[in-house]
Every structure is written in structure tokens, then in C-alpha cells.
């Protein structure tokens, strides 16, 4: 469907070129409809965008899943009928007030007015719309990307929303800007597994929501400790206004919510298409709309005019800790527990600027430890004491450097999808591998724009082709996530992993395709600059026809090292597992990834396994292309 849709703007340009540029003057609904029919106005991209219509002539379908969004009974599938009904309704008696189509469908009314030159329209009093538009008071828009958040699957790919800024929106003024967010409306009375099914299959309605941006700052920067990247857009005031008009039309309108494609990020693109006529942002997202790819789509359409960084609380704290001499690090926690230590001779002897930085860091750390916790009177009292000390040191507090690294912004990451081809040798058997990964990033890959220590893969498929050209399944990883967050004196996060899919295993003297789910939990530690060590306890459930009883649980450990050397990344890992039926597996893996450029890499891998009936060694070289 979507490739066809991509052609439509071209067709429409031809149509538009063939018709007169000057809108005819029409004075009533039937004259307006005659004029619209002459130009087949319902095929214009802007009208289809306003209806959220997808498809092709004869098979239109609106993403909006709500009769309140349509004036014609068949409006969801018939843009022409909806156009006719809208023109009729625009000329309805003004006494309808806020319920009048001119008040309900302000963006449609605006566009039709401009395009058809409607005259003699009734003048309903759109009080509610007027109030809303005065509240929003925006003339600019910003595309906002709260970064990857592995602790919530809904956010592991990041998220996008729009912010609507007034003219004066620098350095804090944007706190009161409106944020436009599309999310699912979940019925809390549904039971758990039902949620999952409904969420994936579009069973939940999604709606656009508008709320103050400061709440988003709190939600992401503080509560979820996520960095936020902001991409200011170059929409004009008029384009922003049309976006706001359309938003008004969408208030309370239900859309089916699909996790993979018709999600928050896809819906944001639809808004931008309404704002700027003639751009096509959505047609590239037939299978999935990964949030960062939608940011890149906006960049490709020349909508983005910069980027700004809003660090998470944890990011700011780490920055302060990095600036503080390590010898003072023990004092950070000690001051939080006992602010009176600041009067000790040792701390009073510090240079004032250093002491100021220590106080600030101690305060930020104490506050950080209280995020999400119930109010603790002791922590509150100590926080207040440190805050007063901070006030006293304000004049000598050193300026904090920029927390952002623009060269590491998420839009600069390697492409979200990966194609790969490899050559392998395993016990004198040579074979080719062909792989497709739908998303997103592995530990050993070029980490630019990603969270360090994060692996987020959904939908990895690999085939093998042996010397006799026989094609076989190598592996399918449905979900493959690893979160390695280093622990230190100040932060004590758990590291964890989850992997489920199909893979080759050996049992009973032969090879089997087994289904499994494998999870792990443990810790990781920063060992050297660019290096990370980790150790996880693992559990596994495997369905293997090679076992007498095919379904077997196993327990084990995995431990490894990850080290970045510029464009080279090394990963070494050892793993051991013991199954309930007594089977044991040992595995050693060595991976070396060489970044060729942003979207290409070479991957060298060696695998040794000790698995009944014998041990085996495999090694291979794989070329990886990201797009």
C-alpha cells in the first residue's frame, strides 16, 4: 500500500499543476462541492493527510478509528464523501456554536477556505477553540526524543513527541510549552496477558495528548533518568498554526495503537505532514517506525534546524563527579549523611571553588538517591542543609561544562536495520551466513548515539547456506536485550539480559533447532576507560527434541569483557550451563567488530563450545551493512 501512496504526491502535483492556482470564489455548499469535484480535491495530499487516510483511490482507509472524526458515514474510507459532508457542514447554521464544523474541524475549514475561496460562510462562535489556541500560543515546534530506556520495553527504542513553543522559548521558558504526545489508552481493568495481545494487535485506542513540557522533563530527566534530545524544527508560524488547528480536531479521537508501526513516532510524523504541505515522511515506515528513524526522516525532509541536549539527573550527577577530584568522592556520600562535616578543618581547608563543587555534587547525589522514594525526614533535613551551603557557595561555584556531546547524538547512530553476509568454518564444515536484523544494536557494534552497555535487538534472522547450497535456519532472535550499567560507589544498578528465539544446539549426538528463553541478572563494572566487565547468573528454558524429555530448564553463569578501542570493539565471554537432565554446556566467545564507516562494519567471531558428545570450534567473518 505505502509504495503506492508514495506516488500520490507526484500525481497530485500534476493535477495541481493542471488546475488554476487562483481559488474560485464559491458562495454556498453546493457550489463549493461542484468546484471541489472539478478538481478532485479529495485526492490532494493535504486533504488525505487531514483525514489520516492511507491507501490508494478505491481502497482508502483512515488510521483514525473513531466515528466522531468523520462527518460522512463512510468518511473513514471515502475521502470524497467526507469532503462533501464537510463542505455541507461548514455552511450549517452558525447557531451550532462550538459544535459547528468550522469550530470542530478548524484545520479542514482553514484549508478548504484557502483552497476553494469559500464565501458567505456562517460565523459561528468557536469559543472553545479560541480558548485553546490562545492557551497554546505557539509559533514554533520542536521534535523531542527521550532517549533509550531499557528498563521499560515500551521505551527501549526511545520515544518521540512534539513541543509547541511560543516565540520566547529559550532557557526555561519552554517548561510551560505544550508537549504533544501520542499514546495508548489502556483499560486498567483488563487482565495482564490480554493487555499484551491487545497492545500488539491494535486493540487499544491511542490518542493525542497535550500537556505541559515540564511534566515531560520530570518524567524523563528525573523519574526515568533519560537524557532528552530536542530537535528544533523550521516550521513557520503559519505551519505551526495549522498543526495546532489539526491537533484541536484530534482531541479525544481514537486511533488504533500498534506497537511496531502505527505508534507514537509514526503519529508525530503525520502531524508534521499536515503542518508542511507536500512532504512525505510516513511512507518509509511500512513495517516498523523506530523513533530515531522518524527523527532522521524529519532531518531528511529538511525540517530540522539543530539539536539540543537536556541531560538526565544521573547524567548531570556523573558530570559533576567527573569534575570533582577523586580523593573527595568519599565525602560526597558522607556529606549527604552528615552535612555538618562541611565545618571540619579538612573540608574548610579546601579551595573555595572545590568546596563549592563538592557541596553541589553532594546535594545532587542526595537528591538523586531520593528520586522515587517516599519522603524521608532525615534526607529532607540534610538536603536542606546542603542547599543552604550551596547558596553560601554560589559565588564561587565553578561553571559546569556542557554535558552534551553533539557528535554522540542518537540521530548519528548506525542505521536501525542490518543486513549481513558471512563466511564460517565449523569443524571442517564451511558455510555462508545471510542475516537480516530488523532492529537495532548489539553491544559489540559502533556505539555512537546509543547508551553504553545496551543491546536492543528485536527480530534478528540468520540463514546458513552450506557447500551443497542447502539453505537452513541458523537462528532467530525474537527479543535479545542486554543492559549492562556499571556499578560504582554512587550507582548500583543491576545488569540483566533476556533472549528468546530459535537456535542450533547439539544433543544426543546430532544438531537440533531448539526454542528457548534465556534470562540473566548480575552486575557490571567499568574496568578501564572504554571497558566494561560483567557477570550474570542465568536461567534458561529450552525445548530440544534431542532430549528424552524435550522441555528442560537450566541454570548457569555468563561473564565477559567489553572493550572499545576507537573503531575496534572487542567482546570476550565465557558461559556455562547445567540442565535439569544433567547435560552441561561450556561456551567461549570472542568477537571483534571493526567499524568501516557509520553504516558498515566487519565482524570477526570465534566460538568454542564443549557440549556432549564433544567440543567444537567455529570461526567466521561477517560483513554488516546498516540502513
Amino acid at each position: 500500500m505505502r509504495p503506492i501512496r508514495a506516488l500520490i504526491p507526484v500525481l497530485l502535483l500534476l493535477i495541481a499543476g493542471a488546475t488554476s492556482a487562483q481559488p474560485a470564489r464559491v458562495a454556498d455548499a453546493s457550489a463549493a462541492w461542484d468546484s471541489a469535484r472539478e478538481e478532485q480535491l479529495w485526492l490532494r495530499g493535504q486533504w488525505l493527510n487531514l483525514l489520516h487516510a492511507d491507501g490508494a483511490p478505491g481502497s482508502w482507509r483512515s488510521h483514525a478509528d473513531d466515528p466522531r472524526f468523520f462527518l460522512a458515514r463512510s468518511g473513514g474510507s471515502d475521502p470524497a464523501a467526507e469532503l462533501e459532508a464537510t463542505l455541507q457542514a461548514l455552511y450549517a447554521p452558525a447557531a451550532l456554536g462550538d459544535e459547528h464544523a468550522q469550530c470542530r474541524f478548524v484545520a479542514r475549514a482553514h484549508w478548504l477556505q484557502q483552497t476553494l475561496g469559500l464565501e458567505g460562510l456562517p460565523q459561528p462562535d468557536c469559543a472553545a477553540w479560541r480558548t485553546f489556541s490562545e492557551l497554546v500560543q505557539a509559533s514554533r515546534a520542536v521534535l523531542v526524543f527521550p532517549s533509550y530506556y531499557l528498563n521499560s520495553p515500551s521505551s527501549m527504542f526511545g520515544h518521540t513527541l512534539l513541543r509547541l513553543d511560543p516565540e520566547d522559548s529559550s532557557g526555561g521558558a519552554e517548561y510551560l510549552s505544550f508537549a504533544v504526545n501520542f499514546g495508548a489508552e489502556v483499560d486498567p481493568s483488563d487482565n495482564g496477558m490480554f493487555y499484551a495481545f491487545k497492545g500488539l494487535t491494535g486493540g487499544y485506542p491511542g490518542q493525542y495528548k497535550v500537556d505541559h513540557y515540564y511534566k515531560k522533563i520530570q518524567e524523563y530527566n528525573r523519574d526515568e533518568n533519560r537524557d532528552i534530545w530536542e530537535y528544533p524544527l523550521n516550521l513557520s508560524a503559519a505551519e505551526t498554526m495549522q498543526l495546532i488547528r489539526h491537533l484541536w480536531e484530534l482531541q479525544g479521537i481514537n486511533f488504533a495503537y500498534y506497537f511496531f508501526d502505527e505508534n507514537c513516532s509514526f503519529r508525530v510524523l503525520e502531524l508534521l505532514e499536515v503542518a508542511r504541505p507536500g512532504i512525505d515522511l510516513t511512507s518509509g515506515f511500512g513495517i516498523s517506525a523506530i523513533p530515531i528513524d522518524t527523527v532522521r526522516a524529519a532531518q531528511r525532509a529538511d525540517l530540522v534546524r539543530g539539536k539540543q541536549f537536556r541531560p538526565a539527573k544521573g547524567t548531570v550527577l556523573r558530570q559533576r563527579l567527573a569534575a570533582l577530584p577523586p580523593v573527595l568522592h568519599p565525602e560526597v556520600k558522607a556529606l549527604g549523611a552528615d552535612p555538618a562535616r562541611l565545618q571540619s578543618p579538612a573540608l574548610q581547608a579546601l579551595a573555595p571553588a572545590t568546596r563549592a563543587l563538592l557541596v553541589e555534587t553532594a546535594y545532587k547525589h542526595l537528591r538523586y538517591t531520593q528520586i522515587g522514594a517516599a519522603r524521608d525526614p532525615v534526607a529532607a533535613r540534610n538536603s536542606f542543609a546542603l542547599l543552604r551551603a550551596l547558596k553560601a557557595h554560589a559565588d564561587v561555584l565553578p561553571e559546569a561544562g556542557p554535558a552534551a556531546r553533539p557528535e554522540n547524538s542518537p540521530d548519528l547512530s548506525h542505521g536501525s536495520r542490518r543486513l549481513s553476509a558471512g563466511l564460517w568454518r565449523e569443524e571442517r564444515l564451511d558455510y555462508l551466513s545471510l542475516g537480516l536484523r530488523l532492529s537495532l544494536h548489539s553491544l559489540e557494534e559502533n556505539a555512537t548515539g546509543f547508551l553504553p552497555g545496551a543491546q536492543i535487538n528485536i527480530g534478528n534472522f540468520e540463514l546458513r547456506v552450506d557447500e551443497t547450497a542447502r539453505v537452513d535456519l541458523e537462528r532467530i532472535d525474537l527479543v535479545d536485550i542486554i543492559s549492562l550499567s556499571p556499578r560504582d560507589r554512587f550507582f548500583a544498578p543491576l545488569s540483566w539480559s533476556i533472549l528468546t528465539g530459535l537456535e542450533r544446539q547439539w544433543a544426543d549426538g546430532s544438531e537440533h533447532r531448539v526454542a528457548h528463553v534465556t534470562g540473566g541478572v548480575g552486575g557490571s563494572w567499568a574496568l578501564a576507560p572504554g571497558g566494561l566487565g560483567y557477570a550474570l547468573v542465568t536461567g534458561r528454558l529450552e525445548h530440544n527434541q534431542g532430549f528424552a524429555d524435550p522441555l528442560q530448564p537450566a541454570a548457569g553463569v555468563r561473564s565477559g569483557l567489553l572493550q572499545h578501542f576507537g573503531e575496534h570493539i572487542l567482546q570476550m565471554e565465557l558461559a556455562a550451563q547445567k540442565f535439569a537432565n544433567g547435560q552441561q554446556r561450556l561456551r567461549a566467545t570472542w568477537r571483534h567488530n571493526l567499524r568501516l564507516d557509520r553504516h558498515q562494519a566487519l565482524h570477526l567471531e570465534m566460538n568454542w563450545r564443549d557440549q556432549a558428545p564433544r567440543s567444537a570450534l567455529a570461526f567466521g567473518l561477517r560483513y554488516q551493512y546498516y540502513y
Binding site: Q137, S152, S154, G172, M193, R367, S383, F384
Partner: protein, 159 residues
Amino acid sequence: MKKLLTGAVLLGASSMAVAVSPGGPNCGWGNMLFAGQSGIVYHFLALTTNGTSGNATFGMTSGTNGCSTDGTLTYGGKAMVQAMLDEFSEDVAVGEGDALTAVAVAIGVAEEDRPAFAQLTHDNFATLFPSESVTAEEVIASLEILMRSDARLSKYVVS
């Protein structure tokens, strides 16, 4: 919004950390789930919805976008001060910052007077934040009194 307020009113300067549910007021699904309810089921819930809790629609419930045109803090502006009291107090202590600017904007202080606003609040930190149990309402009341007696900023406070 109601939830935000009932939660936020409990905040003192130190509250900062808060008597509201983990994840904060109006927080998205992910955090609340993980803090309050555990289990794979809820992971799946978050996985499939990427949503927000359905308690905030179109800012209309607050009756305002928080930007004042007549001088005093509106309902929306007060809600922000309450919600951001932690950040605001730290900015006041340091004498600058986004939360401080945001409050100035919410009151309607023009750009050229914002440095004066920052200076006034910083100089009177102890008045605004006398203890860790001060409430947001008290901070806002003190702020109005301070501004009223400031030659440059009194014009932003209607009597």
C-alpha cells in the same frame, strides 16, 4: 491534574523528593509499573502500549497554559512551581537555571527583568525557603511579597 495537585501540595522545599507516587505525578506507564507492580505481565503491558496514563488531555483541565498575563501566578503556573519546587529551590540557591527562568516566565516577568528576578530570589533565599518543611503555597506567597517591595519587579504583581 487533580492528582498532580494533591501530590504536589505536599511538597516542601525539601520535598523535592516527594510524597507522590514513584515516578512522579502524571508519569508515563513505564516507571509507575516498575515501581509499583512487578512481574513479566507488566513488562508486556509497557511493551505493547508505549502509552501514557490517561489523565492529561489537552491541558484544558488546568484551565490555562500557566503563562500569566496579569501578573500573578495562574493555576497552571502554581502547579508548575509545586511540581518543580526541587529544581526551583536549587536554581534560587545557585542564582540561575532553567527552572528559575520558567517561574519568571510563568509570572510574566519580561526578559529584560529576569536577571533582576534571579537576583531578588537568590538574595532572599532564606526568606523563600526558611525550612525544609515550607510548602509551595508559602514559597509563592513569600515571592509575591518580595516582588511587591522590589522597585523593578513590583509592576508584575497586581495588588
